[in-house]
Amino acid sequence: MFPPRHGLIPMFWTITLLLLALAGGLLAVYAPTEATMGEVQKIFYLHLPVALNMFLACSVVFVGSVGYAWQRRPAWDDLAQAGAQVAVLLCSVTLITGMIWGRSAWGHWWTWSPRLTFSLMLWLLYVVYLMIRPSIESPQRRALVSAVYGMVAFVDVPLVYLSTKLLPDIHPSGVDLDPAMWVTLIAWSIPITMLTAGLIHARFALNGAVRGAATTEPPVIPTDHRPRMPEAHA
């Protein structure tokens, strides 16, 4: 049964949250203030790990899509959908943290610099994936169209990156980090990656459960309005 009360998954989430708290503590007391940008640079420790994990989620969509196109098992489609949901979430967080950073560092919420454009286009790509799904009625057909879209979208990611290279750039690219900054960055990367994996897994299980509930059981039509009998073991 999902989610179980005991076992590996609650332990995984406990460790993730503990590590996240640890990383937060490290950020508050240990991380040095950067010389040129000042304190705003601290957004970086959330921004970069989330942005990197976004690509992880995108590859999960790809893996799920290829798996579905190959084997036609609905579980692969659940995985691809879970990946897309988490990818959109991570991309939103990347955009939001990036915009707050940009507002402080450059004075604008938004500029059409390559990486911002890239993140926005990626966000659109996977939001459309999620939005298109409900408008295809047949589950098999939906899974198939989504799988093809998921595959093409993944191939599209490097192209999007390449195309944004044509725009003028102000985004910091190579970062020189002191050892203390590296420690903080790694301390944040680990729980964020675990969080991504946990979210994808939880969504995967939920998508499967929703699909199971939709296909196996007919809708319950209430026949009377009396309160339901209390359950026997209660």
């Binding site: 989430w13 304190e39 921004h47 967080v93 507002r103 402080s104 979210l199």
Partner: protein, 41 residues
């Protein structure tokens, strides 16, 4: 916006979104489980 405030806002929003999504997933799964258990009784 000062640097300090920007950092606080960014982390609060970011973590709220990430953890909130996790909590939403967990609650939906729980609701679904309860509903299907209610049906089978």
């Amino acid at each position: 916006m000062t640097g300090h405030a920007a950092v606080i806002v960014a982390y609060t929003l970011g973590l709220c979104l990430l953890l909130g999504y996790g909590a939403h997933t967990w609650l939906s799964a729980r609701a679904l489980r309860r509903r299907s258990r209610g049906r089978s009784v």
